[in-house]
Amino acid sequence: MLNPDLKLNKKLFDKDVEHAPIRKGFGEGLLLAGENNPQVVGLCADLTESTHMNLFRDKFPNRFIQVGVAEQNLASVASGMASMGKIPFISSYAMFSPGRNWEQIRTTICYNNRPVKIAGSHAGVSVGPDGGTHQAIEDIAITRVIPRMIVISPCDTLEAQRATIASVETGTPVYLRLAREKTPIMTTKETPFEIGKAQTFWQSDNPQVGIIATGALLYKALETAKKLEDEISIEVLNLSTIKPLDEDAIIKLAKKAGRIITIEEHQIAGGMGSAVAECLARNYPVPMEFVGVHDQFGQSGTPDELIEHYGMGTNSIITTVRRILKR
């Protein structure tokens, strides 16, 4: 059952569950963060509306910098602003930031210890018709390996809003992984959020399988748990902070369920599942399965077609659950 303590959306499993893009929550969160803290500034590389930074730009035109299509400059200019006491948020598509400007993020932001917040929108294959060039499915891997970086992949628009506001205060670089499409809203304004804390969204007394999901695919994990409710008991953990990893919650679930499946809209290599595997291999090894992209590039299609094609749909998850039960 859904964890009552988290005050999740009561309509979560209804056909008319509200949908909104995760990136929109970033835009709304940044606006609130800007109202609360005059040091918050926004910088964008020609994708202001698409990343929803226009909300901040329109309210605080003097605290917004348009750098043009220049993501390397975007990262390093933000580093310079941070050195003067600003708390810069930079936004673009994840493929370009942290993709194209990875070295500038590593050196001028993380190595240089400047608290720049990097919002990468259009992560995952669910970007859809734009095709593989614009579908970032390597971004978790390349950000989580950089010392000092916090990596957050919110599950819905409201969690994105809270993660954005929370990232103002960390004093560190933060990567916020955002998605383009409208996805179901699972949380409510009352759902607690803390960077670095995983949350059990679906509880089970004696789970046979533990599912750890990040981003909007968490919804499919919950659907699976509900669908199989009478047959297989599953517990579902929302791992929105991928770094620092909530090792206690992961180990606890592995001990309880004895089998772990990870679900993410990302390459299996180097992603959230890899982080979980690194943790469990050291602490409490159990059989694991990984739902994600298998060393392939994306392509054009509708988000649903692509999620199915790359093996991340509900049916694939159910198959994976049945497979791990045999191990």
Binding site: N73, S76, A78, S79, G80, M84, G85, K86, Q104, N113
Partner: protein, 287 residues
């Protein structure tokens, strides 16, 4: 503040001491970048001993000018200028590039927090300086008393990011920003005009709305004048293209790109130190 003759000579003497410290540090380290460190010594001397508003005893003073060294590999001159200016003991220069030293092979703020930035990979320093100037302009306007200095190599002008930053500074009329290009014409693989021609260089900067000043990068009067003139430009960022002689001060090292990335050995260092201490034989050693 313009130079008196007396002050000019004083600065040249300081520059000579800094060059001696650079050679000392490099020969002890056994690796490091000689040519650029020596050819930027006069400019670092002018900045740290004449132009910069700074407080070596209070390195984090908020109203200080900011100095961003983009081509971090010439940090021997940065460290030596800072040490002679009183930021830390000159004796510490002998730890350059050693395990645990505050003086990392490329500058790192984790080890020496009084640095404005950690640098090494080329092409990102101007962007950081532009960010500082933008933040300063947001808070107090581009006519702020705080000035942001970005020191660049000519080789790193081959990085596209430098021009991304130049465009943004021109667009925002960052009059509080001064870039200095070390136009020594060399880089690791050879002479810049053979590796990747940069000329017409001043036209490139003008095209992005920068005010351009070209100087002899070893003439103390021209250097300090250029920094003063830049203060009178209120509508554009200024770039000072400093024509320098790679390896300046040690005749055997001058104009030879092979000195870009290697240190002198003991014998070469001893000869170089002799030349520096006697100002090329003009005075007796020990005087």
């Amino acid at each position: 503040m313009y130079l008196t003759d007396e002050r000019n000579i004083e600065l040249q003497e300081i520059a000579n001491k800094i060059r001696v410290s650079i050679i000392d540090a490099l020969v002890r380290a056994g690796s490091g970048h000689t040519a650029g460190s020596l050819d930027m010594t006069d400019i670092f001397t002018a900045l740290y001993f004449h132009t910069l508003r700074h407080r070596p005893e209070e390195p984090h003073w908020s109203e200080r000018d900011r100095l961003v060294l983009s081509n971090g590999h010439i940090c021997p001159v940065l460290y030596a200028a800072m040490a002679h200016a009183g930021y830390f003991p000159v004796a510490e220069l002998k730890t350059l590039r050693q395990f645990g030293s505050r003086l990392q092979g490329h500058p790192h703020r984790d080890f020496l927090p009084m640095l404005e930035t950690s640098s090494g990979p080329l092409g990102s320093g101007l962007s950081q300086a532009v960010g500082m100037a933008l933040a300063d302009a947001m808070d107090v306007g581009t006519k702020s008393a705080r000035r942001i200095y970005a020191l660049l190599s000519d080789g790193e002008l081959e990085c596209g990011q430098t021009w991304e930053a130049a465009m943004l500074a021109g667009k925002n009329n960052l009059a509080n920003l001064v870039a200095v290009v070390d136009r020594n014409n060399i880089q690791i693989d050879g002479y810049t005009e053979e590796v990747m021609p940069l000329e017409p260089l001043s036209d490139k900067w003008r095209a992005w709305n920068w005010h351009v000043i070209e100087i002899d990068g070893h003439n103390m009067e021209e250097i300090t004048d250029a920094f003063e003139k830049a203060k009178a430009v209120l509508e554009n960022p200024t770039v000072i293209i400093a024509h320098t002689v790679a390896g300046k001060g040690v005749p055997g090292f001058e104009r030879d790109y092979r000195w870009h990335g290697k240190p002198p050995n003991k014998e070469e260092a001893s000869k170089a130190l002799g030349e520096l201490r006697t100002l090329g034989g003009k005075i007796k050693q020990g005087e």
